[in-house]
């Protein structure tokens, strides 16, 4: 979360720079800790939504850990009675499927895969979008025209059908490749909105000053532009991650993505097509993967809502007691229309 390259966003750059000379390495480190880890953590934790979001996401991380360390049994047919209901037999707390597979084992088994895929999709989409958006927004002129034309074209292609065509050719079974394929044209839209954010920043006086001083374009982008759009980027990273999981599960569900071993989408699909629809007896088979998917997305959304506060300098100063006359900002920028 604390990947901000510089704390210029708070506008206190000049102060910390002048005091750097007398500071020992230890002091520097402790200030860094204070600035980048403790304060954001305190701000994040003070908000109920973030707290809940972090808790939910830790549950998923924990499940991934359980699977990696092999602390829970692997799913296999006939490991238990068929159609056990949840909590009926505490050996199989979430019940079993029509072929006697432990549902909890199914969910846990694919958690690392899903998390990797979600991370890959989010990182790919946001990194590319930031690169494209800042460059075209800041440079303007021909560069802007070219990049905008290209991203306009990519925006004109609906995501899922393109992914389906690509999936046939690439058969992505590796979670990282899959994450990238799923968000193959997600960057275009995001890059476009980052561009419009950058457009307003490029006219700011401190950017003008850097330009007058002859600072190189990459340096201006990294030092002056990026810190300002970081909150927006982080929030959109989470939304891209959410999109990745929705798209993946949707496509697994209708059976157009190749898979080896079950995952949440495949489990949902099996529950749906193998009779889960017709009887109440198998309802839990349908509900367990649904809860796993919705839970992860819910955790991500809560985190993105709270993240806005971590990066919002006004909320931060109030928390560290530097200012009292701050009104809460509403999260106008947090939710893109998706």
């Amino acid at each position: 979360m604390s990947t901000e390259p510089d704390s210029a966003a708070e506008g206190i750059d000049w102060r910390s720079e002048s005091s750097n000379v007398e500071m020992s390495r230890r002091d520097q480190l402790s200030e860094l800790y204070e600035q980048k880890i403790r304060v954001p953590a305190v701000v994040a934790w003070s908000d109920d939504r973030t707290r809940l979001g972090i808790l939910i996401l830790s549950v998923y991380l924990f499940m991934a850990l359980v699977d990696v360390l092999g602390l829970w049994r692997d799913p296999s047919p006939n490991q238990a009675d068929r159609f056990l209901r949840p909590f009926e037999n505490m050996q199989y707390p979430l019940g079993t499927t029509n072929s006697g597979v432990d549902l909890l084992a199914l969910i846990i088994d694919s958690t690392p895969f899903i998390l990797l895929m979600v991370l890959a999709g989010g990182v790919w989409a946001t990194t590319l979008a930031v690169a494209v958006g800042t460059l075209s927004g800041y440079k303007g002129g021909t560069v802007d025209t070219v990049i905008t034309t290209i991203s306009d074209f990519f925006m004109a292609i609906p995501g899922l059908p393109l992914v389906i065509v690509l999936a046939i050719a690439l058969s992505p079974e590796n979670p990282i490749l899959l994450g990238v394929v799923l968000t193959i044209n997600y960057w275009a839209g995001l890059g476009r909105s980052i561009r419009s954010q950058v457009l307003s920043i490029r006219e700011a006086s401190y950017v003008e000053a850097s330009r007058t001083m002859g600072t190189s374009t990459p340096r201006i982008i990294i030092k002056d532009v990026l810190p300002n759009i970081m909150p927006y980027v982080m929030v959109n990273f989470v939304l891209a991650a959410r999109y990745t999981i929705f798209a993946a599960v949707g496509l697994y569900f209708i059976g157009v993505l190749p898979y080896s071993g079950q995952n949440w989408g495949v489990t949902l699909s099996n529950a749906y097509y193998q009779g889960g629809l017709f009887s109440m007896q198998a309802l839990h088979w349908l509900l367990v993967p649904i809860i796993a998917i919705v839970g992860l997305a819910f955790g991500l959304i809560l985190l993105s809502q709270g993240m806005d506060r971590i990066f919002n300098p006004r909320v931060r100063t109030r928390l560290t007691g530097e200012s009292e006359s701050v009104t809460e900002d509403t999260d106008a920028s947090t939710t893109e229309m998706i």
Binding site: R49, Y138, G140, G141, T142, V143, D144, D152, F153, M155, A156, I157, P158, G159, L160, P161, L162, I164, V165, L166, I168, A169, L170, S171, G189, S196, R202, R211, T217, R242, F246, V249, G250, F253, I254, G255, V256, L268, Y272, L277, L283, L286, I290, I293, V294, A297, F298, L300, I301, L302, Q305, T330, D331, A332, S333, T334, T335, E336, M337, I338
Partner: protein
């Protein structure tokens, strides 16, 4: 240059680019549709020397011609609405597409408009009563809606309302035996079949629309011109519609392009779940049946539909915002 003229001129160019991409995907993607089709024909026992001829009959591409010739052939074919022959349905691809396109457009347009209107109204009320109980409850609800994908709603509706309670049909766009006509029976059957897909697709989008509108509304309500309008003694209705609503909805319009894209793409999953015979449904059927000409035809038409849909949405943008001219920026 005139905005509308410029925008209209873009359409053929975009469609050309999209068709080129489709050709590229068919012909050049390693392991893509073309390779798969050839493999499939060979597996079916078609003699190797006849495969090219078969491919030519199925997809409007002559495999033995040079690449530029193939490209030209494909483009001419597309311009003449010849998209090849469907293998699984054994009829021209364009016939299947012509049959299914209206259903997809119907689903997407109806649900998107419903979603937009309901979301905007809820968001506006939230902004107006900011901090109230209503605001807190609906905000929580919106956040929850954001985390449930539309196909989950689809599955749940289908399970309870269609399979368990049998209130709604579980597939198709009209009941069997009801012919397309301007009769009441036809329309009610269409609506009955479309209710669940539209409901699932609408509900899942309301959350983000409402949250957006709430944020924009609160921002606009704090603007000075709203204060001035109050001081001028304008009626509340006029302030709400002309000053607040207009300015709050405007920023959401820019997201419309992406929104329509996501929703059109989403029909692939939605229609498959409801067995609703639209473009997305046929695309998945084609994928499952290894019917590559039909699959690429669906891909092309879904994309063209998106281009046209966004064009129409852009034209209405001018009705809300009279200042549409994005000046070119200087290069640094």
């Amino acid at each position: 240059m005139n905005y509308y003229l410029k925008r209209t001129a873009q359409i053929p160019l975009t469609i050309l680019a999209v068709a080129t991409l489709t050709f590229g995907l068919i012909r050049l993607l390693p392991g893509g549709p073309f390779t798969q089709l050839r493999l499939e024909l060979l597996q079916q026992g078609v003699p190797a020397e006849q495969v090219d001829a078969r491919i030519e009959a199925l997809q409007n591409i002559r495999p033995d011609a040079p690449l530029w010739q193939q490209y030209l052939d494909y483009m001419v074919g597309v311009a003449q609405l010849d998209l090849g022959q469907s293998i699984s349905l054994n009829e021209p691809v364009i016939d299947v597409l012509a049959r299914s396109l209206p259903w997809t457009v119907f689903l997407v347009v109806t649900s998107t408009i419903l979603m937009f209107v309901i979301g905007v109204v809820i968001g506006a009320l939230q902004a107006y009563w900011e901090g109230s109980r209503f605001d807190r409850i609906t905000s929580g609800g919106s956040i929850f809606l954001l985390s449930v994908p539309y196909y989950i709603f689809a599955v749940i509706f289908l399970f309870f309302l269609a399979f368990q309670l049998q209130l709604f049909p579980t597939g198709n766009a009209v009941a069997r035996g009801v012919d397309a006509s301007l009769s009441l029976a036809y329309f009610s059957s269409v609506l009955h079949h479309a209710t669940l897909p539209i409901l699932a697709f609408t509900i899942s989008g309301i959350g983000s629309t409402a949250l957006n509108m709430r944020g924009n509304g609160i921002q606009v309500l704090g603007e000075e011109y709203v204060e001035v309008a109050r001081l001028r003694g304008l009626s509340n209705n006029r302030i709400a519609t002309r000053y607040v609503a207009r300015n709050a909805i405007l920023p959401m319009y820019t997201g419309l392009l992406l929104l329509i894209g996501f929703r059109l793409g989403g029909t692939v999953v939605l229609e498959e779940i409801f067995s609703y015979p639209g473009l997305g449904y046929y695309m998945i059927q084609a994928v499952n049946a290894n019917d590559y000409p039909l699959m690429m035809g669906c891909f092309l038409v879904i994309t063209v539909t998106l281009v046209v849909g966004v064009y129409i949405a852009d034209l209405t943008y001018g009705l809300i915002d009279p200042r549409i001219s994005a000046g070119d920026s200087d290069e640094y």
